[in-house]
């Protein structure tokens, strides 16, 4: 039973102990507010009220790609000159905006007050506001707060902060259960749940729940598995509530999904026969689907700018299952406790970098001229213009990419820019540089 998750063909020397280049220069990464773009779609009765500036509102709008929904379940309470003058005032103003909002949107059951750089700098105490508003609107609406500020959080860390804020208010339950942690597209979440139920794991719950009234509790009997590698604070909060984390590589690709499921299966004493019976068919499908895209990726080099925090697990998937060669794997921060199992599986060689000094990193990327460079939207076109093929990282958090049925799609996301390049080679400027 309790078979360790590592495969027999793990590299002799992985990257867990490899030296890390730590950079502290200019970063070119979104702040944690960005997570609202997917979190508000995931939690259908939640509203995200950012207390911030026009910049914050503009970031959300721009990151959302100006997708205008009838009325999205997020908004920004923009601080004005008069709010900055006196704090008591700001709390009254916030109460008034919340009252208006909840009157207009009776469907809202969870309200997140989301801190930003300006609200942090003026020390506007949103936890006090959340407590006060919870008293006022309980039990219909639960009011929570977290910070998505750029001075404290990077891109996907916003989701971590959001999920972490929900943990302390979860009811206590000693029940033996598996908790899946991470906001996944519904279709992917459903696939994961059906795999787990086929393995015979009875009680499986998900944080964040789609709706506020989902029965979610935590306690000594809870074991949890992260589905995203950026949820370190949430994991720590769950551990403080007595839950125990299952350590595994992240469920990207056939191998990652299998190892992740195997670790869960080991925890719940699932027999090897049953595991094989449940996973054999989807594993074969995933391998087949990945193989199609891997034809394009095989032998190609890849360079990761730090962005979504998925870089390490993806590098593991691309090097091991798609035959790519990683040159640099940059991540905004490296939480070895969480991505250690993935690092173990990446053969030593690539440069691991943490944090960023964007101009220096661009110099390295230009020198490396990888076949594919993974970066943010601000860098993609300029690098393309320099003749580098790029893959925008943000797509990786907006697209279903986890578990078996998406393994092929995940590989295809990386193959597409290369295939496109090949198709358009008649258009390539003679020098390899952009025409301008």
């Amino acid at each position: 039973m309790n078979r360790p998750f590592t495969l027999s063909d793990a590299p002799a020397k992985g990257c867990r102990e490899a030296p890390v280049l730590k950079e502290r220069g200019q970063r070119e990464v979104f702040c944690g507010l960005t997570g609202i773009i997917w979190l508000h779609r995931k939690m259908q009765d939640a509203f995200f009220l950012v207390v911030g500036s026009r910049t914050c509102a503009h970031l959300l709008q721009s990151a959302a790609g100006v997708m205008i929904f009838a009325e999205p379940r997020f908004g920004t309470a923009i601080l004005e000159e008069k709010d900055l003058a006196g704090l008591a005032d700001a709390h009254d103003e916030l109460d008034r905006e919340v009252e208006r909002l909840l009157a207009r949107r009776p469907d809202i059951r969870r309200l997140f007050l989301v801190g930003s750089c300006p609200s942090e700098v003026i020390k506007l105490d949103l936890s006090r506001a959340a407590e006060r508003l919870t008293r006022k609107y309980a039990p219909h609406v639960a009011v929570l707060n977290y910070s998505g500020s750029g001075i404290e959080t990077t891109f996907t860390q916003g989701e971590d902060a959001c999920l972490e804020s929900m943990v302390p208010v979860l009811p206590e339950s000693p029940e033996r259960q598996l908790l899946l942690v991470g906001a996944l597209p519904d279709v992917v979440e459903d696939q994961a749940l059906s795999l787990l139920s086929a393995l015979g794991i009875e009680t499986v719950r998900v944080l964040p729940s789609r709706r506020a009234d989902a029965p979610l509790a935590v306690g000594e009997g809870t074991v949890f598995a992260l589905t995203q590698p950026f949820l370190g604070e949430t994991a720590a909060a769950l551990e403080r509530r007595g839950a125990r984390r299952i350590d595994a590589p992240f469920p990207f690709g056939e191998e990652g999904t299998t190892l992740w499921l195997r670790a869960v299966a080991a925890e719940f004493g699932v027999s090897e026969e049953r595991f094989e019976a449940v996973t054999a068919a989807p594993r074969a499908r995933a391998r087949l689907a990945v193989a199609a895209a891997a034809e394009t990726l095989e032998g190609r080099s890849i360079f990761f700018f730090p962005d979504s925090q998925l870089e390490i697990p993806l590098a593991r998937f691309l090097t091991r299952e798609c035959g790519m060669r990683a040159i640099e794997i940059g991540a905004p921060y490296i939480h070895k406790g969480l991505v250690g199992p993935d690092l173990d599986l990446i053969e030593e060689g690539p440069l691991l970098s943490e944090g960023q000094d964007v101009d220096k990193q661009l110099d390295r990327a230009r020198a490396a001229r990888a076949d594919l460079t993974v970066c943010g939207l601000g860098l993609a076109n300029p690098l393309e213009a320099e003749g580098l093929a790029t893959k925008w990282a943000i797509e990786l958090v907006f697209t279903p990419v986890h578990f078996y049925e998406q393994a092929g799609d995940l590989a295809a996301l990386f193959a597409r820019p290369l295939r496109r390049r090949e198709m358009l080679k008649a258009l390539a400027p003679a020098t390899g540089e952009a025409a301008g």
Binding site: Q26, R27, E28, V29, F30, C31, G32, L33, T34, L49, V51, S53, R54, T55, C56, A57, H58, L59, Q61, S62, A63, V66, I68, A70, E71, F74, G75, T76, A77, I78, L79, E80, E81, D83, L84, A90, E93, L94, R96, E97, R100, L101, C117, P118, E120, V121, S149, G150, I151, E152, D359, G376, L377, G378, L379, A380, N381, P382, E384, A385
Partner: protein
């Protein structure tokens, strides 16, 4: 505190970025946290720029606060100079840095860099993007432009175009051609495409053409005062405005040039009988002040539309827009709250919206066609082909753009005649849009309930009348419903029958 969902303008430092990114040889050192780097993607993705905006963000973090944010700024400034070797640097703070009061201007000055360092003071909690662009360019001009001998040949500067502007690239090209025909050479175009050394020689021109008052008026006023350069007051968008502009330039140059109107097609296209169906089409206009005002004049005088709503989102232009609206018998809508704009559009029930990308989405939701006339911009506002708004070609482009979303004349009649034809469903929208017709009617979450539940609580629709109402093509149905209900209420009729519907139709016939 004000709850905002979508904004028409970004913060003022984004305006400064539009100036810096439009220019060459200028670098912007912005004291800001990492998340503010999102603004790069506006330029690299929406405008498809092939280089990074020339902006160094200090990306200070919480742990730097109080301790060494000032050092961070100084290092960033020095590094930017060493790496990029710009001709000049502008320095400023984003909303967060404004609160920590590090004084970027003072710190940058203390570095004694061998190039001009221009401090920006952009109040993030009071002003917005257009102000930021206008103020930034003003400061650059103040620091760099000097009085100097005028060019021998009569010349002007084109002032106002920036990065991320609505059709700025094509407008500059069109306008340069027009000025050439007027015998005027272009000395400098700025900010777009200008370097700091180009800015230094602005004073060599004989006058300025203020192309976009939103982003260039401050600099033009300063140059009038300090360099003695008069500037033009007409923005040449539309046929009449272009002709007025030509007169204005002739006045300044003391010449009598009359450019060839041979390629101007709007007047004939508009007078051609095919366009009769455009008569009195009710249009709602919203955008930045300059483009909204231009559109109002074109709509009423050159297209024969009825303007039923007019407004702008930039308060700086409230006064002229209010005056213009009043002259058209309307009350201007000056707001940056898109929900208010949506409510006003719903109320006015226009047949066409001339607006921004925001209104395009509002139009989608309400099932009303929309043509985009103004920033804020979207990737679609940077077409591959030339597509100016100014001058005679601009007028041609505008004619096409505004007519395109409409159901065409004969088609409109056919829809009336064969409204029950299953293949000719009016919800399909204009036939020339193929499968991409506005799908509002079936895509909207609750398409028809609005019909059954009358907008007005005091009246109900009888089943027959409701059926009849459904036969009216979708693009006028909203107006018919509203008019009928208003008519019924005024006459104290509580149940609307088919007769009421047609009585109302006769009453409101135009």
């Amino acid at each position: 505190m004000k709850l905002t969902v979508w904004t028409y303008e970004g913060p003022p430092h984004v305006g400064a970025m539009r100036v810096a990114t439009g220019m060459k040889g200028l670098h912007y050192v912005l004291h800001a946290p990492q998340g503010d780097t999102y603004a790069d993607l506006l330029f690299t993705m929406i405008e498809r720029r092939d280089h990074r905006p020339p902006v160094t963000y200090t990306t200070f973090q919480a742990r730097d606060l109080g301790a060494d944010t000032a050092d961070l700024f100084k290092d960033a400034c020095r590094d930017a100079w060493e790496r990029f070797r710009p001709e000049a640097i502008i320095v400023g703070a984003s909303c967060t840095a404004e609160l920590i009061q590090d004084d970027p201007g003072g710190m940058a000055a203390a570095l004694d860099l061998p190039i001009p360092v221009i401090p920006l003071d952009l109040p993030s909690y009071q002003r917005k993007e257009n102000f930021g662009a206008d103020e930034t360019f003003l400061q650059i001009v103040r620091h760099l432009a000097k009085p100097m001998a005028r060019t021998e040949r009569i010349s002007c500067n084109i002032i106002g175009p920036t990065g991320l502007g609505f059709r700025h690239r094509d407008d500059v090209e069109e306008l340069t051609g027009l000025l050439f025909e007027l015998g005027v050479a272009v000395n400098v175009v700025a900010p777009l495409g200008a370097s700091p050394s180009d800015v230094a020689r602005l004073g060599a021109a004989h006058f300025n053409v203020l192309l976009y008052p939103e982003t260039g008026e401050g600099a033009c006023r300063w140059m009038q005062r300090e360099l003695g350069l008069p500037f033009t007051k007409t923005v040449p968008i539309g046929v009449s405005a272009t002709r007025d502009f030509i007169r204005e330039v002739n006045g300044l140059t003391e010449m009598d040039a009359s450019p060839d109107e041979g390629r101007l097609r709007l007047p004939w296209y508009s007078r051609s009988v095919d366009s009769t169906y455009l008569t009195g089409k009710r249009v709602f206009i919203f955008g930045d002040g300059t483009h909204a005002a231009a559109a109002a004049r074109i709509a009423s005088e050159e297209m024969g539309f009825a303007v039923v709503g007019l407004g702008c989102y930039n308060r700086e232009f409230a006064r002229p827009i209010r005056a213009l609206a009043k002259s058209m018998g309307l009350e201007a809508l000056v707001t940056d709250d898109y929900l208010e704009v949506e409510a006003a559009i719903q109320e006015a029930q226009p047949e066409l919206i001339l607006g921004t990308q925001m209104e395009r989405h509002i139009g989608k939701r309400l099932g009303i066609p929309c043509a985009v006339i103004s920033a804020p911009v979207h990737v679609q506002d940077f077409p591959a082909r030339r597509s100016p708004q100014v001058g005679f070609e601009g007028a041609n482009v505008i004619f096409d753009t505004w007519v395109h979303p409409l159901v065409m004349g004969l088609e409109e009649h056919l829809l009336h005649m064969f409204r029950d034809d299953f293949e000719f469903r009016d919800e399909a929208g204009p036939s020339h849009h193929g499968g991409h017709a506005p799908r509002a009617m079936d895509a909207a979450p609750e398409p028809e309930p609005a019909l059954a539940a009358a907008v007005n609580d005091n009246v109900t629709w009888l089943a027959d009348a409701e059926k009849e109402l459904r036969k009216i093509p979708f693009f006028v149905r909203g107006k018919a419903r509203r008019n009928t209900e208003k008519f019924a209420v005024e006459r104290g009729v509580s149940a609307i029958s088919v007769e009421t519907l047609y009585e109302a139709k006769a009453h409101y016939a135009r």
